[in-house]
């Protein structure tokens, strides 16, 4: 069993008890959607920052799996293998 790591931007870390990396044990691959669902159980406010109530990833939130942004993969169905890292970064937006 290897952990999957979720790396948070500093601005969201207060919503995860100050942690910069959340780890979850994984027997095998899980989808990004399931990973975010499990995160919502422990950190519901953090989860609402990433996805709206329909479950869609917010427009200016980018989630990377193995260096690729999931919108260019299979979105929430993108699989994350045990031992891989998921990185959450806000896009450059606003004024």
């Amino acid at each position: 069993m290897a952990d999957i790591s979720v790396v948070l931007p500093s601005i969201l870390q207060p919503l995860a008890g100050g942690q910069s990396i959340l780890t979850t044990p994984a027997d095998g691959a899980v989808t990004v959607g399931i990973l975010l669902d499990s995160l919502a159980g422990d950190y519901p406010v953090l989860a609402r920052r990433l996805r709206d109530e329909t479950g869609a990833i917010r427009r200016y939130v980018n989630i990377y799996v193995n260096g690729d942004e999931v919108r260019r993969l299979r979105g929430l169905e993108t699989e994350v293998a045990a031992g891989q890292e998921v990185v959450i970064i806000q896009s450059v937006a606003g004024g």
Binding site: V45, R48, E53, T54, A56, V61, Q90, A93
Partner: protein, 377 residues
């Protein structure tokens, strides 16, 4: 009045494009500021709820990145609480997500704990627990007109909610859609726009589709409301059945603001802008206009306001408090905020160079809440 000054203080909440500022005062002329709270998030809606012996400030906060939420503070902004699961979210099956919370409206004293909200996409919400959790108003959400409501420049939202003293009559204004009225406390809704122009549509007098910018109820005359329209200022005396123009005497009939007095019948304030295509104060001279006779005549009020102002005042960037005389507050998209302790006769600048002011709310609070306020004997 001298007695009141030692027992009461004033709080002015200023929501901007990049955060919230809170100002407090003992005399509504000199102000102490705190903030920014929620830096880099816009704050388009604020409700100050002074019922239940508590001062609760509720804010609709929206981050471009992280979305909208509602937070509240019971200690004038020292700490903020955000319900874990979110105060306002569309239920499953609606396939909708809240974009922005445009209005937070504490109901009457007789209904403590009831707070209404208006949001984008066009929707009305009601809380019975002091604004911590809201339920979607299904009557309006499921209205057969909904697919025909449009979006104004700022988005498609329910931005005005007015509830009569008994709680049976609820008026909502939306852009664009116009005024909708419920006679059963919000269960069912019908458009009530007769007399309000929609000059931008092929039929300028449709049943609905108007771009009503703001509505407010007369303090003491049941069934009388005022509306600032997208060109046009109106009054109804029959609970929205018919609207008639009260724009004569104003320098322009465009604008966003409509305020009414907390107690005195016939008194309302607007902040005219020149036109749809020229959204600046007429002649670039910033002024508030007040009527004391339900719109028959208007008085220009500009003492203390800058001449040479090219910024608009948005629909919720203005407020009255409940003091006697009532305080009047507003802010501009240029980040200036003004306060009047005497119903608009004289203004002083509270702040300048803030980000665009989106929402302003003034309230009378217990002096005990405000640091530095005189303690009553």
């Amino acid at each position: 009045m001298g007695c009141m000054a030692t027992e009461e203080s004033y709080v002015l909440a200023i929501g901007t494009k990049k955060g919230l500022w809170l100002a407090t005062s003992q005399d509504r002329q000199t102000w102490s500021m705190s903030g920014p709270h929620f830096l880099m998030s816009e704050v388009p809606s604020i409700g100050i709820d002074t019922r239940n012996g508590r001062t609760r400030i509720m804010v609709g906060v929206r981050s471009e990145h992280w979305g909208p939420t509602v937070a509240h503070s019971d200690d004038l902004g020292a700490t903020w609480t955000e319900p874990e699961q979110g105060a306002i979210k569309f239920p499953e099956g609606t396939d909708a997500a809240v974009e922005r919370i445009w209005q937070i409206y504490p109901d009457a004293d007789a209904r403590p704990g009831v707070v209404w909200a208006g949001a984008e996409p066009i929707s009305v919400w009601k809380s019975t627990d002091g604004g911590e959790h809201f339920e979607l108003n299904r009557g309006l959400w499921d209205h057969p007109h909904r697919s025909e409501w449009g979006a104004g420049y700022g988005g498609a939202a329910a931005h005005s909610i007015v509830v009569n003293p008994s709680g049976n009559n609820v008026h909502v204004a939306m852009s664009t859609g116009g005024v909708y009225r419920s006679l059963d406390g919000g269960t069912s809704w019908e458009p009530r726009n007769k007399g309000i122009s929609a000059y931008f549509m092929p039929d300028p007098n449709p049943e609905f589709g108007q771009c009503v910018h703001k509505i407010a109820a007369d303090a003491a005359v049941e069934g009388r409301l005022y509306a600032q329209n997208h060109h046009g200022v109106y009054r109804t005396d029959d609970n929205g059945e018919n609207w008639e123009s009260i724009a004569e005497g104003l320098p322009a009939d465009f604008g966003f603001v409509m305020l009414t007095h907390p107690r005195r019948p016939g008194t309302a304030w607007v902040v005219p802008l020149k036109a749809d295509g020229e959204r600046i104060p007429p002649d670039a001279k910033l002024a508030v206009h007040r009527t004391d006779d339900a719109g028959k005549t208007w008085k220009r009020l500009d003492s203390g306001l800058p001449q040479g102002e090219y910024n608009a005042v948005l629909r919720d960037a203005a407020s009255v408090d409940t003091a006697e005389p009532a305080g009047v507050y507003f802010g501009t998209r240029g980040g200036s905020v003004y306060a009047s302790p005497d119903e608009g006769e004289h203004f002083t600048e509270v702040a300048s160079h803030l980000p665009d002011v989106l929402c302003v709310r003034g309230a009378v609070v217990s002096a005990a809440l405000v640091p530095g306020a005189p303690v009553p004997a």
